[in-house]
Subunit: 189 residues, 4 copies
DNA sequence: CATGAATGAGAGTTCATTCAT
DNA sequence: AATGAATGAACTCTCATTCAT
């Protein structure tokens, strides 16, 4: 159902997609759909939740690598961008439709987003502890946000960016600028 | 009307806002509203168009400063971030709702986005020509995208970022990382 | 609209009548119907309210007669039964569907019912004061309830009663039994 | 099942009660419920039928008492009111929901109602034959209807009546007025 | 025999849009 | 030129009923 919904939301957006379409695309009747959900909003929540779950799981498994120093950060970014690339539609839908979630669900989802940011921060902080980069806590947080968003923009600016680069180039170039940015940032500080 | 619509869209999103509400908030009757627009989508288009127009105008006027070298780029970024900060609601609405525009309007709006990217690119290219930074054309384009998005994320991640920084700090830190990123990028290339 | 709704409710009951049917029978579109009401329950409330209003108004105007003693009571009962007879469908619908009203509306309507009971009580109390009947306060209240219900049963048992009597006979017979009941009740007390 | 249904109907009415709820409250699965009934209307019919059956049975057993004259009538009324009081919910549901029965079932149920009226009539006619009251056939029938309805109103006006009286007082007062009404009715005739 | 997942017709309600005034 | 009553297509959601297991 989530797969079907993602597909429809990608094409027409959440609001322009009807529950009947979701049901049909999921392969069950409207009645059966409503056995699984209580309101249409629930579909959106399920979609968002499942995407976060998958992204996070895949990210977590990738973060357990045993490289050291700056390499570890590079690998993490590469992996994250890879995941985003493979789940483009899902990620795109999620960032375009979260705002339509009811308040409570929104908070829940934003918490997940916070968790993800923390994961990235942690990888950066690791480099700080290893003394391969020198950043204040504020700079670490900002860098984490930047990486996260640079991943997301691969989807929401794809109409432009993906004409210029493939994911490998994009990753390479972003890492390049990003790493120089933070390794030199110490000086500027 | 645009002001009223932006306000409503910020609060409830485009789809959850009714034409009646837009009319009322604009001080028109529903009948009069439909003298100015043909469909509800037109409102969204007008909103997006007017925001682009304003952002672009303000940006353009700021780019005619007479500083040289890297300072010019720093000033441009600072100005751009300033504009974004002052037009937070507008920018937020725009990036969250563009996707709801009908195809034709979408293309038109994306073109504006391309123009803006070009403006930023141009400022960066100027630095390249001045030989204060050394970037390939591909790196220039990516850098422009990054700046643009870092501006936007001030709004769409405000629930998190604006708790950590005020706009001055945010600008300072981003410029710091960004400038080191591109000035050192030559080496990494 | 109320007229149309009463007619439909008489035939099929409130729950089996659709809003579309109400709209059609009222001569407007479903959209226009919803300009006048907020929910389907509102229709029922409007129906009940308007019936009470009419019954009460007609009753009130009839109670201002200048006869004395027991005649006054007889006239009141006769008038009340007359009103019920003329508004049979309305009264029937009301007593069969009130329970479907949402809580708040129900209280409001029951208050009206209490008012009507009080009106009848007052006429009886007048006879008590005139010393043509001798009843305790409890007996007065019960007598009022009885009259009220004997009026209503002319509608809700019409499948049986109206085969046996016309409204004149019914009124005459009921008054007969009722008046003897209360004029002799003193003794039994 | 009937017990469960009565309980639910009392709380929410027939139409607002779902078959699922009936099944659950009865301890069946929805599938099993439909082994016993063909349509939801059948539930209502079963409920009504079983209530009539019980009221009638209890009434019948009480009518075989051996008192004579007016006492017999008083006892009958007292017993009937007693039954009503003990089966308040059932009686209330029945009178509020019969109208929702499909035509055929309705006729069947109304026949039962006729039977009950006849039973009461018979008790009154017995008094007429015993020459303790003097009533025409028309008066007998009306009196029977009145008693029946005065029983029912103990439930459907309980929000008001049961605040004023307990069942013993109510019975005593009603019998008082009723008996004087019919014993004196001869004169007024 | 009992179950409950599956169905889909149909309900109430909304709202973009029109057009007579 | 401005209005807002009127429209009805389209939406979300419910629930009586069935039937494969």
């Amino acid at each position: 159902m989530v797969k079907a919904a993602v597909h429809l939301f990608t094409e027409k957006g959440f609001h322009r997609t009807t529950t009947r379409e979701i049901a049909k695309a999921s392969g069950f009747s409207i009645g059966t759909l409503y056995e699984y959900i209580r309101t249409k909003d629930d579909v959106l929540f399920l979609v968002c939740d499942s995407i976060y779950e998958e992204v996070q799981t895949r990210l977590q498994s990738l973060l357990t690598d045993d490289t050291k120093g700056i390499e570890r950060l590079k690998n993490a970014i590469t992996s994250y961008f890879q995941v985003i690339d493979e789940m483009q539609d899902e990620v795109l839908v999620m960032y375009q439709e979260v705002k339509s979630l009811p308040k409570e669900a929104l908070s829940y989802v934003l918490e997940k987003e916070v968790e993800m940011t923390s994961m990235i921060e942690e990888v950066i902080r690791y480099c700080v502890r290893e003394e391969v980069v020198f950043l204040t806590e504020k700079q670490v947080k900002l860098a984490a946000h930047n990486i996260l968003v640079q991943g997301q923009m691969w989807t929401f600016r794809r109409w432009s960016i993906q004409k210029l680069y493939n994911i490998e180039d994009y990753t390479k170039l972003q890492i390049e600028q990003f790493i120089s940015g933070i390794t030199k940032a110490q000086v500027a500080d």
